[in-house]
């Protein structure tokens, strides 16, 4: 009987944790679909749309994300101290969120979105619901993976100053990441990939440099290379 009672309690607890998880997942699916939307717009930078206009729409979505993370936090407030119990359910989506925020931030300001800034944007600044450092770092790696493609397309569109700026940024970023001691885990793998991003950007920088495209204005550069080959 006592055993029966115990297992009835367990049943209730597992049900509760299950329903909590369902609610978490519902929010996470909304986060996922919001990031999908943001990403769809952001991808247009590769087609060289003017950045400021382009950023308007995804920036408007940040508020939505903040609201969604707030809803997550509310759910988790029901089970204090269990952030890491359910963490796996939103990790991957949060990493994507970070990568998008950091990319937008970089497009606007040219510098790295700080961890605390990311927390602020998402309203994650209380002790019970924070932005896990590993998730932040992985998100930054994801962003770095987008940069070579961005540079390629910018140069194609005639922006010959872009490689230099990106090179400086990614060199700094890579140098900072080298400070970390990583285990053989996912973050390590992502960081290992970052050196190829760096290398690719360096190559593009070199390409424009040897063609003397950096110094002059864009339109001139354009014409000049046409006469080359």
């Amino acid at each position: 009987a006592s055993l029966e009672k115990q297992f009835e309690d367990f049943h209730v607890q597992l049900e509760e944790s299950g329903s909590l998880r369902d609610r978490i997942r519902a929010v996470v699916m909304e986060i996922e679909s919001t990031t999908r939307l943001m990403n769809a717009t952001l991808l247009l930078v590769h087609q060289s749309r003017p950045t400021p206009e382009l950023l308007e729409k995804p920036k408007a979505q940040i508020g939505v994300l903040k609201e969604l993370y707030n809803r997550l936090a509310v759910v988790l407030r029901e089970c204090p101290g269990q952030y890491y119990r359910y963490h796996g359910d939103w990790r991957s989506e949060t990493q994507t969120v970070v990568s998008l925020l950091a990319f937008m931030h970089w497009l606007e300001t040219g510098i790295l979105l700080m961890h605390s800034e990311a927390e602020d944007k998402l309203g994650l600044n209380n002790s019970e619901f924070c932005l896990d450092v590993e998730d932040y770092l992985i998100g930054i790696c994801f962003m770095s993976n987008e940069l070579p493609r961005y540079v390629v397309n910018q140069v194609t569109a005639g922006d010959y100053d872009c490689p230099r700026k990106v090179l400086k940024f990614i060199t700094d970023l890579h140098a900072a990441f080298r400070m970390l001691n990583l285990r053989n885990d996912f973050l390590r793998k992502k960081f290992d990939g970052m050196k190829y991003d760096l290398k690719r950007v360096e190559e593009i920088h070199y390409d424009v440099k040897i063609r003397g495209l950096t110094a002059q204005g864009d339109s001139i550069g354009e014409q000049e290379i046409q006469g080359q080959s």
């Binding site: 055993l3 890491y84 119990r85 963490h87 019970e128 060199t171 990441f177 400070m179 001691n181």
Partner: protein
């Protein structure tokens, strides 16, 4: 080819990432401590279980020669738990849950087995948790999650099976308690088999819920638990059908030690 301005020493993010480095290093160190504690606890718990398998009666306190053996292992366990208790506070309790769960489960297996041997009852999660925190003798507390508790019980059914089969082979009957906690004789209709069936029934009918890892572990262990029940059921069946052949009026050879009636279960 070109280069950034002399390089990396000047990266503006360096100092921030030094902070991340410290945070990550601490995180990895805590994780590593939990893994090692878990190994130690597992090894000591296994030794306790081995010692407990030497017990031959159900429902009385563990004989002194055996509890003398298990004591140092309990000491190891509690000091290992105490050493990582600070790493398992607040959010970190669940953060490293997967690194300490092995030890917690094996500990649950050991103390629930001992509790069963002494009282022919299943220890509650609360009692197990209280025993752990009392044993540690430190301020910080460690929780035994429902999942740890249940997975530990699963393993315990295997020990119950070993205990039951060995008892049937050496003593000849299905074990059951004959005395209450104070040593008074009692009439008891429960046996290890009925308890094992009850426990397995509870475990089997519990919906393991939405935690994928737990559901997977539980369903793996359920297979073993079912096999354990099956083994004991077959052994009891064997006892019974052989007992049926005993000629009417047959009495055990009195030159042998007295033993249980097999109808007793």
């Amino acid at each position: 080819m070109t280069s950034n301005d002399g390089g990396e020493g000047t990266s503006p993010y360096m100092s921030i990432f030094e902070g991340f480095r410290n945070e990550l290093d601490q995180h990895h160190d805590r994780r590593e401590r939990c893994i090692k504690a878990s190994r130690d606890i597992t090894a000591a718990s296994k030794k306790i279980i081995f010692a407990l398998q030497r017990v031959r009666t159900l429902g009385s306190v563990i004989p002194e020669n055996i509890s003398r053996t298990t004591q140092p292992y309990y000491d190891t366990i509690y000091s290992s738990f105490a050493a990582v208790a600070p790493d398992l506070q607040g959010l970190n309790a669940h953060r490293y849950a997967r690194n300490i769960t092995g030890g917690l489960q094996e500990y649950m297996e050991a103390i629930s087995f001992q509790y069963y041997l002494e009282k022919q009852e299943i220890i509650t999660r609360e009692a197990a948790e209280a025993q752990l925190n009392q044993g540690m003798q430190v301020e910080a507390r460690i929780a035994i999650g429902v999942e740890d508790y249940i997975l530990g019980l699963y393993d315990m059914t295997g020990e119950l099976m070993r205990f039951a089969i060995t008892n049937m082979a050496t003593v000849g009957g299905v074990p059951q308690a004959r005395h209450d906690g104070d040593g008074a004789e009692i009439s008891n209709t429960r046996t290890v088999l009925s308890d094992l069936r009850e426990l397995s029934f509870r475990l089997e009918t519990l919906d393991s819920g939405s935690d994928f890892h737990f559901a997977r572990d539980a369903s793996k262990k359920l297979v073993v638990t079912k096999q354990s029940v099956d083994k004991v059921e077959r052994a009891v069946y064997g006892l019974l059908i052989r007992g049926s052949e005993r000629p009417k009026g047959w009495m055990p050879d009195l030159s042998d030690a007295p033993r249980e009636e097999i109808e007793g279960f």
